[in-house]
């Protein structure tokens, strides 16, 4: 009788151990599956993050290059006004007007005509640079103001980028 009890106890123990082993195996498999899924998600997240970081780096480099170009061009746009101010400071238009009005008139008209054409070209009007000069400039040899020139008066070119108002 004792042997039977012992056998029952042993069988029960073995059954318990077997059940525990199965439960452990099942839970472990579930954990492995969950961890694998999490790992896959993390890999995707890392890949996405790397792409985002690279995109941000590219954008930063592109923006830096564009900003540099912009600053250069903004500075360049100041050149015309700076040149004009310097020219006006150096020249004495009042003296030129008194000593040789025709010369100054030709230079002013030539520079003004050139300025209008440059402005038109800068806004995309390509006909500006090729349009005929007005008759008053054609009469005055394209604005050089040669009529009655005074030897003391500078006969500057009509390049408006240099001598817009002279």
């Amino acid at each position: 009788m004792i042997k039977v009890y012992a056998l029952v106890v042993v069988v029960a123990l073995l059954g318990g151990v077997g059940y525990a082993a199965k439960s452990y195996y099942t839970s472990t498999q579930q954990k492995i599956q969950t961890l694998s899924e999490n790992n896959a998600k993390l890999e995707v997240a890392i890949e996405q993050s790397e792409k985002s970081v690279n995109l941000l780096k590219d954008e930063a480099a592109k923006n830096a290059e564009l900003s540099k170009n912009l600053q250069e061009k903004l500075q360049k746009a100041e050149a015309y006004g700076d040149n004009l101010r310097n020219r006006l400071r150096k020249l004495d238009l009042l003296a030129d007007a008194i000593s040789n009005a025709k010369n100054l008139e030709g230079r002013m008209n030539g520079a003004t005509a050139k300025l209008w054409r440059e402005l038109m070209a800068e806004t995309g009007n390509n006909t500006g640079g090729t349009s005929d000069l007005p008759f008053w400039l054609q009469q005055n040899n394209a604005g050089t103001g040669s009529e009655g020139s005074d030897k003391n008066t500078k006969s500057d070119s009509t390049d408006s980028s240099k001598t817009k108002a002279d």
Partner: protein, 95 residues
């Protein structure tokens, strides 16, 4: 998970280019005043004109130069934004 989404804005057409008309300046002093009156009346029929002093003319020229600077700088800023909104630079890097 943070995903960077680039905003895209359609590039609109630029405004119509400016079309300027030529302007004539007369420089008049005591010596050529009478000749100017005769020539001007012959050209325009009536003797009526707008006169500017040399200083005012200089100011006008400087004002135009300021407008030109502003137009050009505004234009460059528009070009900057247009380039920033397109993938032109990215493509050139890939080449």
């Amino acid at each position: 998970m943070t995903k960077i989404q680039k905003v895209t804005v359609p590039i609109v057409a630029r405004p119509k280019p400016i079309n300027l008309t030529d302007t004539q300046v007369y420089v008049v002093n005591k010596g050529n005043l009478e000749a100017f009156i005769a020539e001007f009346t012959e050209q325009n029929g009536e003797l009526a004109f707008v006169a500017l002093s040399i200083d005012t003319y200089e100011n006008l020229a400087l004002n135009v130069s300021e407008l030109r600077r502003f137009i050009n700088q505004q234009n460059e800023i528009i070009v900057y934004y247009e380039k920033a909104m397109t993938k032109e630079l990215d493509k050139s890097k890939e080449k």
